[in-house]
Structures are given as C-alpha cells and as structure tokens.
C-alpha cells in the first residue's frame, strides 16, 4: 500500500467518524409540517372546476413561537431545561431514555421529541413514576415522544388551553394515555396508544377539541369524550379495546354537560378486549364488544364510521339510570338527547351480546346480531336509513333533518384562547389589593406600617419602593420582617408601587 493510499484511507476513516460525531451532536433541522406550503395537486384535477378544500386539521392557532430552541440529550433531565425555558421557547429532546415527571406550569412551551432514524426520546416511568408529562400552561405542544410504564397518565393537561398533542407513541402508561382536562381549543392527533387500563385518549371537561388520526388499541376505552362540548372525533383507528369510542356525561363532576360531539369516519373494529379497568371506575362497567357508547351526552352525531366485529353492539345509547357504576347528579340530565345516527358501515356487530341486550331484543321480537341498542330515555334523537341496521329501541326515532356533517370542518377556534395576563393598567391595583392589603392598611398599623407612612417615605420615589419590596430589609424592631415580593415581575412591582403611592383611602 502506497503512502498516498494509506493517507487517503486514514482520511476517509477520519471523515467517517467525524461525520458520525457530527450527526450525533449537531442539532437536527426540523421542518414544521403544520405550517408551510401545501401540495398544489395535479393541474388536471382542477381542470373541470374548483377543487374542494381538504379536511385534515393540521394544527391550531397558537401564540407565536418567539423564543429560543433548547436541546436535551440522553443523560440530561428534561425538567432542568423546562425550568430554564421561557414562554415561547422550544425544547428539542433527543433520543434516549428519560425517567422523570415533566411538569410545565408555564405558557407557550413546545416539547418536541427528535426522532433519529426511528429512535425516539423515550419517557420511561419504570413502573413507579406517576405521570410522564403534566402541563397547566396555555399553548403547550407535546410531540414525537415514546412514553411507557407510568402509573398514572402519559400526558395530562390541567386547564391548559390551545394544546397540541401529536405523533406520540404511548404504551402501557396506567390510567390514561392522553388526558387533557379542563382545557379549551386543543388537538390530539396522530398518536398511537395501547395497553391503557382506562381510556387511551380521554378528553375530560374540555371545549373545542379535535381528536383525529390516532390509533388506539388494546385498552379498556379507546377514545372518551367526557363532560365536554364541541368535539370532533374523526379518522381514528380504534381496535381491540373493551369499548371503542365513548361520549359520556360522568355525574358528580363540576362541569355538567356533554353536547355537540361528532364521531365520524373512524374505524371502530373488533373492540372485544377483556375489561381490565380498575374496580369502581366508570369504564369498568363497559361490556366488552362495545363499538360506540353514548351515555347521557346530547347532540352526538355518528357518521361515516366503519363499525364492525364488536361483539356486544355497534352503538349503545344509554341514560345514567341504566348504566352500572355511575352515581347520580342532580345537576346533570341523565338522558342522552338529540343523538343522530347517520350513515355508517356496520357489519358483524352484536354477534355475542350480553344478556341485557338479548332481553331487550326479545321485547321487540328481534334476534340476531345487533348494531344499535338504545336503553333508557333519549329524547329528540334521530336516525337515517335505519333499515340497514339491526336495532333495539330506536324504532320510534325520527328521521334526521340532516344527512351529513360536511359543513363542520372543525370546532377549533379561529383565534386561540387569549393569554392569561393581568391587564397592565390594573396590575398595580390588583397586586396592591390582592397582596399588600393583607399587611398594610391605608391608615393604622396592621402587620406592616400604614400606607400613609409609606407614601410619606417614598413620596416621589416609586422605583425605590418597587426595589424595596423585591428585597426588603428589616428597619423596625417592633415590626416583623417583610417577606420579599420578588415573585412579582419588575413591571408589576413598579405598578404596585405607583399605585400604593397614589391611593387616598
């Protein structure tokens, strides 16, 4: 081997390792598919006229992404970066195993897993951690993670609005896979979820929600819309759960209604899994083989689904009084009213139904594989083309006044839920009355000196007062030390100082 060849070989090897090194540590260039250009389509397709626009909901309007991009790599803690992150920041989590609970009590944070050659950032609860990701802020994105073996939930939202949970793979995370609760305006799309002992996707007490393109299987409940309004569940693949898609009112919750839910274009196939829910949970009462279950929810529209091979029934509509495991709630109407069953492909459901359903069928002198079962009160419900289904309890339903839901693309809001900000014009007053007034009265001594004295001391120096409250020092032997008010941001501190110096009673 000549020296030249040897050198070339060395260089090639070096370049190879350098390249590996580079790929392993350099930031990945992420293309955000929610924005950007759409494929224009082949021109021939539009030659004969206007093409209808698509119905794929890709994302929601959120606060602008203004901040920096942080990177978290294997061996680091995601939470350390979340603590540093500011509103508007994005956190890229690189492949590796992370065993922690990530909680986000901030607004506008995007937590994005980086997938490299199929390898995902994996959150592993190792069977002892409670929840994987818990957020309470607005405008939170969680995407591209693999989450497994948590005791509670994989992704749980507590009153965060404008959320996007997408492209996650969730395997065996205990109670719920994805559980946005008490939020408004959010999407749950393109997630793959299995092995959940309650609902794989559980939208609880939320408004304006879009659940689409998810694959949920091997769980007790596939997708559950509970005590929520204005929700669309579409294009999901729901298979081998105990119950496929549920629209519920659960009694005893502070939000009392479920209405305006569209369940359309889903595959709801073979949901015959043994019920392995925790005893006492609402879903523990679901008979295996339930395609869709509508309990007490109003204005639920079922359209365009493929519902097949669910052994108890394709669709069960029930009130609270006929549902096991539910309490009562004087404030919730127990009846599912204004349910609308439109065209669906239903096949081979109810082939091994439960005794209660068989008994109901006998009352109508029916036998065979049942598609639709209604039990209990249901007012003003309707159905079209009922002749194609085997039904119990819907013979008297009216013909629907509509045949499809095509005019409703989404219930997501045109504008995001506005940020939770204290009006700057009010910030001083609010902080003064909410915080200062607990220790300072205008005249007279309380815990701290009277406001009049403070006004005299800082008569023309609001900034001095603002600085003082952030870092108070003890100046009076017979008064307790004032606690620092540094949790107020500098602008609020100045506002409250100005307000305090201006009040007159």
């Amino acid at each position: 081997m000549s020296k030249g060849k040897l050198l070339a070989l060395v260089l090639i090897v070096a370049a190879f390792f350098a390249g590996r090194y580079f790929f392993a540590t350099g930031p990945v260039q992420m293309t955000d598919s929610r924005g950007g250009a759409s494929y224009g389509g082949n021109q021939e397709a539009t030659a004969d006229g206007e093409r209808r626009s698509g119905s794929l909901v890709r994302g929601i309007h959120m606060a602008p992404m203004t901040g920096q991009v942080h990177e978290v790599r294997a061996g680091e803690k995601i939470m350390d970066t979340v603590k540093l992150a500011q509103s508007g920041d994005t956190i890229h989590v690189y492949p590796g195993t992370y065993s922690e609970t990530v909680y986000i009590d901030k607004d506008n944070i995007r937590l994005v897993g980086i997938i490299e050659e199929g390898q995902r950032a994996t959150l592993d609860g190792k069977g002892h951690l409670n929840d994987a990701i818990l957020y309470s802020g607005n405008d939170i994105v969680v995407e591209n993670f693999l989450i497994t073996k948590y005791k509670g939930n994989a992704i749980m939202g507590q009153a965060g609005n404008n959320f996007e949970i997408r492209n996650n793979i969730i395997v065996d995370t205990g109670v719920y896979g994805i559980f946005p609760q008490l939020g408004k305006n959010g999407i749950v799309t393109h997630n793959v979820i299995s092995g959940i002992e309650d609902a794989a996707i559980y939208v609880g007490m939320s408004d304006n929600i879009h659940v689409a393109h998810n694959h949920v299987f091997d769980s007790v409940a596939g997708i559950e819309i509970e005590n929520s309004r204005h929700a669309i569940v579409e294009n999901n693949f729901v298979t081998n759960n105990t119950g496929g898609i549920l629209a519920f009112i659960t009694p005893g919750l502070p939000v009392k209604t479920t209405y305006d839910v569209i369940i359309r274009n889903n595959f709801i196939v073979g949901n015959n899994h043994k019920n392995f829910a925790a005893p006492g949970s609402t879903v523990a009462g679901i008979p295996p083989g339930t395609g869709i279950l509508i309990m007490a929810a109003d204005e639920v529209v079922v359209e365009g689904n493929i519902i097949s091979d669910n052994k108890t029934a394709g669709i069960i509509i029930t009130d609270h009084n006929n549902a096991p495991n539910t309490t009562i709630d004087p404030e919730s109407d127990p009846a599912p009213d204004k349910v609308a069953i439109l065209d669906n492909l239903m096949s081979n459901n109810g082939y091994d139904s439960i005794d209660e359903v068989k008994a109901l069928m006998l009352t109508e002198f029916k036998t065979g594989k049942v598609d639709i079962v209604r039990v209990g009160v249901s007012r003003d419900s309707c159905i079209i083309n009922r002749h194609q289904y085997v039904t119990v309890g819907v013979d008297k339903w009216a013909e629907c006044g509509f045949t499809h839901t095509g005019d409703v693309l989404t219930y997501l809001l045109d504008e995001p839920v506005p940020p939770r900000e204290i009006d700057p014009a009010e910030a001083g007053k609010v902080a003064y009355l909410g915080i200062c007034a607990g220790c300072h009265t205008y005249t007279g001594r309380m815990i701290g000196p009277p406001v009049q004295v403070i006004q005299a001391l800082y008569m023309d120096d609001p900034q001095g007062l603002a600085d003082y409250i952030a870092n108070p020092v003890k100046k009076r032997d017979d008064y307790p030390q004032m606690p620092p008010q540094d949790y107020l941001d500098p602008a609020t501190r100045l506002a409250v100082a100005e307000y305090m110096l201006s009040v007159t009673k």
Partner: protein, 202 residues
C-alpha cells in the same frame, strides 16, 4: 425678645470667656440654651438635644445654616437658632464630633403630661410608630428622630409647624417633607393624647 437677648448675651459671654471644656469646642455655645447636659430648657423654647441621633443633629444643623430650616417668619425660635447656627458654625466645625457628643449625653427624664393614653397610644402606633419606633425611640433608617424624652411643648410646636407648612416645605428637606405629609393625617384633636403618650415613654 428679652429672652432672645438674654440667650444671645449668655452665649456671647461664654464664648468670649473662652472656657476650656471637655466637650467639643462649639458645645458650650449650645449649652447656653440647650443646657449643659443637652437637657433643653422649656423656658427658652430650647428642645432636648441629649440622646438625639447624630445624623439627625447634623442634618438639622446644616439645614439651619443653609436656610432650609428656621427661615419661616412664623417660626421665631427657628429663626433664632438659624441665626446662631450661621454665626457659630462654619465649614471647619467638626459637626461629627459635636453630634456624637450630644448623642452620647443621657436622655433626661421628662415630666409626663396628662391625656387619654389609650387613644394616644392607638394613634401613635397607627401613625407615628412605623418611623419613630414603638416607644418613640426614633429610627435612623427613616431619618426619624427620637421623640421620647422631648419636651411636650416642643413636640407640639414642631408638629403644628409641619402641619401648617412652617417646617418641612423646603425641597432639600426630604425627611421634613415626609413628616409634613404625615402631620396632615393626624386629627389635631388627638395631638395632645399622642404627645401625652410620648411623654410617658422612658
């Protein structure tokens, strides 16, 4: 007027006599009115100086020299003190030493005055104590002088001066302006009770 004359002549005498004393050089001049031990002299309207915070003393002396205090026609005693300060003190005077000496003098007992002490206490604590301290001991952190041990007449006169715009109006006198603001918050009918309360403080 006779008193002023008397005081001035006494001062002049003592200064001229050139008595050698242990105190800082200018003090004997002060003592002529404020007493050998800084105990003041109500008959001369000269307040107690003993035990007052050095910072406060220096500030007030400078105010007198600079026309910040004692410049108001309704304040004859202040004018008198201003005249003296201007003549007795100059830039070379060691005010630090003088003030430190006066601060070190023991606070004299003051004859308590009668009043509704409960009411006085209440108003004092609610309005004054935050700066002047719960027992009128003063608090340098707020430039608030000691009140306990001061002659009640002087306290009342100064308070009314603050309230009436005679003292605490000069832009350079920030602590005075603060006090003027506070003086406007205290109902005048409670003043005697507050002063009675202060006069009871050790």
């Amino acid at each position: 007027m006779p008193r002023t004359l008397l005081c001035t002549s006494l001062l002049t005498l003592s200064v001229l006599a050139g008595t050698v004393l242990a105190e800082p050089a200018p003090y004997p001049a002060c003592a002529a009115c404020h007493g050998q031990n800084g105990q003041g002299n109500p008959d001369l309207n000269a307040p107690v100086l003993a035990g007052l915070d050095a910072g406060y003393l220096i500030r007030q002396l400078n105010y007198y020299r600079q026309g910040v205090r004692g410049d108001h026609e309704m304040d004859p005693h202040g004018q008198q003190m201003a005249t003296l300060a201007k003549s007795l003190l100059n830039d070379q005077t060691d005010l630090q030493a003088l003030a430190a000496y006066i601060q070190s003098l023991p606070v004299p007992a003051v004859q308590p005055v009668e009043g509704d002490l409960r009411r006085g206490n209440s108003y004092y604590q609610n309005n004054c104590g935050a700066c002047h301290g719960g027992k009128g001991e003063g608090n340098a952190a707020f430039d608030a002088p000691r009140l306990a041990g001061q002659h009640p007449d002087y306290l009342k006169r100064q308070f009314l001066h603050f309230k009436q715009g005679i003292r605490g109006q000069h832009p350079k006198d920030k602590p005075g302006r603060r006090m003027a603001m506070m003086a406007n918050t205290l109902p005048e009918e409670t003043l005697d009770d507050v002063i009675a309360f202060i006069s009871q403080q050790p």
